[in-house]
């Protein structure tokens, strides 16, 4: 979503689903994996007559409650959505005012850009990479993009898009997706009706969309549909990315990811462009690369002045310096570039994502592994390989509530397999020389802290029980570990040890040796380095060392109240809906980033004039331009401000005379919704194009390319083909279990509800393979085999793919050999290949075979 809108977040929130006129649930099984959503979707249904559409390979508990269910073959979402784009354009169902003003539809594209036979311009087959130089706007002498607001110029994004998707006619689409044509037409009709200005429709997706070699482009396809229908930035609209783990949003915000540092800033690399602080800041601040500035002072002056194509990220230097200040305190000084050198610089040529970690480990390139509440032996793609890789570790630290499958990867049980397979290693504990440290962690309600839920609401959890036995909150464990590491390096004068020796690590509470969570929270949310008072918002952060802030997007979450006490806003519990029209914003409940904006890009909820609501939709207007309001109470001379029930996701003083007045996507350099993803935003094309999964039952249908041409192929010899493995396999979760099951298969009540590993298969396939409902089956792929129980069901049906009958089976992602409910991990079957951009593994579509055990 980031390439389309500027941020990669769920744009609306769960309660807001009640405001929709139509929900397209695709690649998500909300009723099972985010059950509370159904409460709000039912309200939309009952109060607004909203329609719920579910598109999924299998009929699920979500389908059971949807108004319309349409099956599609796993891995064909872009075909499905590309056809929708064509349908919208052909039938002129798009929201014209919205498209012209709020998206880059009118922008003209470089004449050299083109697309042929499934490839965009600039492709190099040797490296499987694109040179994206031609994927750019045509610009004038000032560097400003040229536009054609009539949308007629053949080089404008709108026309290029129309041309690109002209191939996605309904028959072609259905021959790829296997969707019955009548169902597909019904979906198109129903959802595209939200293009009317007084209607909004939302898209709800989860890992059914991301876990593909085209995962990021799947989301791009959603973005295009939603921009065309004018559904972004409006209540009941948006793209609701349903996060799967309670704080995966927060862990991403804190950048427990190789490619970013806290607050979504690209992590520095070993490039010349990142060699020192000023070079790095110029590289990561949009529009700054070519500025003639050579130091921080000059950059500061340029920022104050403003420069084109920068958007809100023009402030990046303040976020980076404040973070360095938070991490290295006194040691981060102007003289040493605020200790920028201390930050690790990754190798620009290397990938460090999940798959890469285990590939490197497999080659013996990694000695030590920390596992924090994660379970790759169950949840890692190609789990056999990942488990084998772990045997090369010298040491592993696992921190969890349970001795999960990963903590016990070295046991006899861990190496039991249902059938002998030469591709899978056979090991005993004696073969495995890894030292394993298991640290028992406290459960969620045995400690306190905040978590960011899927709609970015950061809520506080208080402690309701003592940790069992000697288990400890992770905060204490991490703190103690940090102290011990710092102790081990104490007194070192080596320059390479400075990042540890000088690391600020003083969170001790007054009452004992354990850390005080409020001290951590203060550093995370930002403080004035002189007064130690909280910084009241990221607009107040500076790049001169006067402020320290661990993660700028959380700045403003801590505040000093008028009576002088400090409030941590995630603790707020006022549950009155502050919206005058009952939109369920609940702005005084907890806090949400950025700056408590509950629906991002909410500038789109009002017409370009900033005042008039969309025709017939006054109740869903979130913000407006008020020429008499004050954007800053201390500056009464500056009249005019953006105001509204939601915090405007817009620079408050942006007045109608400014060009940015109609640019709602403030985190994008051009301020417009990206129908066309320019330059390096996407690695595999400015428009989403359908490619088959790495393992596919069919030859390419719509173009000549099978696999996403920019997806990295790690292990070509691990690819299965449809002659040996004719059945599509997919994986998913059920409501009764969560992720790898460590946190649910160890709970007797949940083990009772879903006691065994199951494989769901259609009655047709069961008949063909003589498989009995409830009987044991073996599923095999190029990577391994598992044994499971068959669930023969009417809810899976064979697909008609280009005239050929193709079967698909599905299985639970969540089983392992530990706990009260056990079974073979499905990921022993899944491949080590990921999306070209985000590198999410392709868990959702691969080839297998099944037989009676």
């Amino acid at each position: 979503m980031s390439p389309s809108f500027g941020r990669g977040v769920m744009t609306n929130h769960i309660v807001d689903m009640k405001n929709t006129d139509c929900a397209l649930i695709m690649g998500s099984n909300v009723a099972e994996n985010h059950p509370i959503s159904m409460k709000w979707l039912f309200k939309a249904k009952e109060n607004r007559g909203a329609k719920l559409i579910h598109v999924d390979p299998r009929f699920t508990r979500t389908s059971a409650r949807a108004d319309l269910y349409a099956p599609l073959r796993s891995g064909t979402d872009i075909a499905f959505l590309g056809g929708m784009v064509k349908y919208i354009l052909d039938n002129e169902l798009y929201h014209k005012d919205y498209v012209v003003n709020y998206t880059n539809a009118a922008f003209l594209i470089d004449d050299k850009y083109g697309f042929k036979d499934g490839l965009f311009t600039g492709y190099d087959p040797a490296t499987r990479k694109y040179d994206t130089a031609t994927w750019d706007y045509k610009k004038d002498d000032q560097g400003m993009a040229l536009t054609d607001p009539t949308l007629q110029d053949p080089r404008c994004v709108f026309q290029l898009m129309k041309k690109h998707y002209s191939r996605y006619d309904i028959d072609t689409v259905c021959s790829i997706t296997g969707t019955p044509k009548d169902k597909y037409l019904e979906v198109l009709d129903t959802f595209c009706a939200t293009g009317k200005p007084d209607k909004t429709g939302c898209i709800i997706y989860a890992m059914g969309i991301t876990q593909h070699t085209v995962g990021a482009q799947n989301i791009r396809a959603f973005s295009i549909v939603q921009l065309l229908l004018g559904n972004m930035g409006r209540p009941g609209g948006g793209i609701n990315a349903m996060r799967g783990e309670n704080n995966v949003q927060g862990a991403t915000d804190m950048a427990l990811l190789f490619h970013i540092i806290p607050g979504y800033i690209d992590s520095p690399m070993n490039t010349t462009a990142n060699k020192d602080l000023i070079s790095f800041l110029k590289a990561v601040t949009p529009g700054a690369a070519k500025l003639p500035v050579t130091n921080l002072e000059e950059l500061r002056a340029a920022v104050k002045e403003g420069f084109p194509n920068s958007g809100f990220k023009i402030n990046t230097s303040k976020w980076v310096v404040s973070m360095l200040k938070a991490w290295w305190g006194e040691a981060a000084k102007p003289e040493n570039n605020f200790a920028y050198d201390y930050l690790p610089k990754r190798d620009e040529k290397k990938n460090y994502s999940h798959i890469a970690i285990f590939e490197a480990m497999h080659k013996g390139e990694i000695d030590g592994l920390f596992v924090s509440g994660s379970n790759p032996v169950v949840g890692g793609p190609n789990a056999n390989k990942e488990q084998e890789a772990m045997c090369n570790l010298k040491w592993m630290v696992s921190c969890d509530l349970w001795l999960n499958e990963t903590a016990e990867f070295w046991t006899y049980q861990a190496w039991e397999r249902p059938v002998k397979n030469e591709k899978v290693a056979e090991k005993t504990p004696a073969d495995i020389q890894t030292e394993v440290f298991f640290l028992p962690a406290a459960a969620v309600y045995e400690k306190e802290g905040t978590a960011a839920q899927t709609g970015r609401w950061v809520q506080y959890r208080w402690k309701g029980a003592d940790p069992v036995g000697e288990s400890k909150p992770d905060l204490d464990i991490i703190y103690d570990l940090g102290k011990a590491i710092k102790k081990a390096y104490a007194g070192s004068k080596r320059i390479e040890d400075e990042p540890i020796v000088n690391l600020t690590w003083d969170y001790e509470s007054k009452h004992g040796p354990e850390p005080d969570i409020m001290k951590v929270a203060l550093e995370l949310c930002g403080y004035d380095t002189k007064t130690k008072a909280p910084v009241e918002g990221f607009a107040k952060l500076t790049d001169d060392g006067a402020t320290a802030c661990g993660c700028w997007v959380y700045c403003g979450a801590m505040t000093t109240l008028p009576d002088g006490t400090v409030q941590y806003k995630p603790q707020k519990r006022d549950n009155k809906d502050n919206s005058k029209t009952g939109l369920g914003l609940f702005s005084n409940w907890a806090w949400c980033w950025p700056m408590n904006r509950r629906i991002v890009y909410n500038r789109c909820s009002v017409q370009p004039d900033g005042v008039t609501p969309w025709p017939g939709d006054a109740e869903r207007q979130l913000v407006r331009w008020d020429p008499l309001a004050l954007s800053d109470p201390t500056k009464p001379e500056l009249l005019g401000s953006w105001v509204g029930d939601d915090v405007p996701d817009f620079l408050k003083p942006t007045s109608p005379d400014k060009p940015a007045f109609t640019s709602p996507f403030i985190m994008r350099a051009d301020g417009k919704g990206g129908l066309f993803a320019t330059k390096t935003l996407m690695k595999d094309g400015p428009f989403p194009e359908h490619y088959e999964p790495w393992e596919s039952p069919t030859a390419p249908i719509i173009n000549k390319i099978a696999l996403n041409p920019a997806a990295k192929v790690w292990a070509p010899d691990e690819q299965g083909t449809s002659d040996k493995y004719p059945i599509i396999g997919t994986t998913y979760r059920v409501v009764e279990h969560w992720q790898t099951g460590a946190l649910t298969r160890n709970l007797p009540w949940l083990a009772e509800l879903m006691p065994n590993m199951i494989v769901e298969i259609s009655e047709e396939l069961a008949k063909e393979k003589k498989i009995k409902n409830g009987g044991e089956v073996i599923v095999s792929t190029m990577r391994g085999d598992i044994k499971a129980l068959a669930c023969v069901t009417k809810r899976f049906k064979p697909f008609n793919v280009n005239g050929k009958t193709v079967h698909e089976i599905g299985m639970l992602w969540q089983y392992g050999f530990k706990g009260y409910a056990t079974g073979d991990p499905a990921n022993r079957l899944t491949p080590h290949i990921g999306d070209a951009n985000a590198m999410c593994p392709e868990y959702k579509a691969w080839l297998c075979d099944i037989r009676r055990a």
Binding site: N247, G250, S372, L401, Q433, Q453, Q459, W462, R573
Partner: protein, 209 residues
């Protein structure tokens, strides 16, 4: 500026106390003989948030405390009626939160700590086929020692990049980290900071998987 735990807890107490009232949906007077006494009568629940999917449903924890206010055992965990997301609702997973700590024994029906919870740090020596219990100090110090050994052996302070320029990289590619999406923000933040100070670049959370 004062940011103390106590002050924040004061706020908590005030909000938490209001549940008992909000949870009451009906006003009934008579209590019939043979009906058990309400187990959570006069117990102040503690609000938390469900640790499973990211919907962010609020939960409330009811626990028994002794006269000194020390935690004794769990009574019940259920949906937080004040939380605007779930308004008291909880699916099977959220409703099973009690089991995260305690269970009722299938044979006896008695309440006990979930036997699968690990109560002590555990260590597995190279080549061994069993766990040994260890104390926290030994564990943490030994891990720090391993981290230092690995880091010092493989640390890259400077290197020549593709352009042939020498750059300071302060990187360490022989230590990796996975996980953390189940952590609180404060924990994830400290972990991100600690790992990066060690030069860790193989750093991943579950966002990608």
């Amino acid at each position: 500026m004062k940011v103390t735990r106590r002050e924040f807890l004061k706020v908590t107490g005030a909000t938490a106390a209001s549940f008992a009232v909000l949870d009451l949906g009906f006003n009934m007077q008579a209590t019939a003989a043979g009906i058990k006494e309400l187990r959570i009568k006069n117990v102040t629940p503690t609000p938390t948030v469900c640790p499973y999917c990211a919907s962010g449903c609020g939960l409330v924890v009811y626990s028994e405390k002794d006269s000194a206010g020390k935690f004794v055992k769990l009574l019940s965990v259920h949906g937080d009626p004040d939380n605007p997301i779930n308004q008291g609702g909880a699916c099977a997973k959220g409703a099973a939160m009690f089991n995260l700590r305690e269970i009722y024994n299938e044979a006896t029906g008695e309440q006990e700590i979930n036997p699968k919870r690990v109560q002590k740090p555990m260590y597995r020596a190279p080549g061994s086929d069993k766990w040994e219990e260890k104390d926290w100090d030994w564990m943490v110090e030994t891990i720090a020692k391993r981290v230092k050994e690995t880091r010092d052996k493989s640390f890259i302070h400077k290197e020549k990049n593709a352009d042939g320029n020498e750059v300071i990289v302060n990187r360490n590619e022989r230590i990796a980290h996975v996980g953390g999406s189940g952590l609180d923000n404060e924990e994830a933040y400290l972990l991100s900071k600690l790992m990066r100070s060690l030069g860790v670049v193989y750093l991943e959370t579950q966002a990608r998987i």
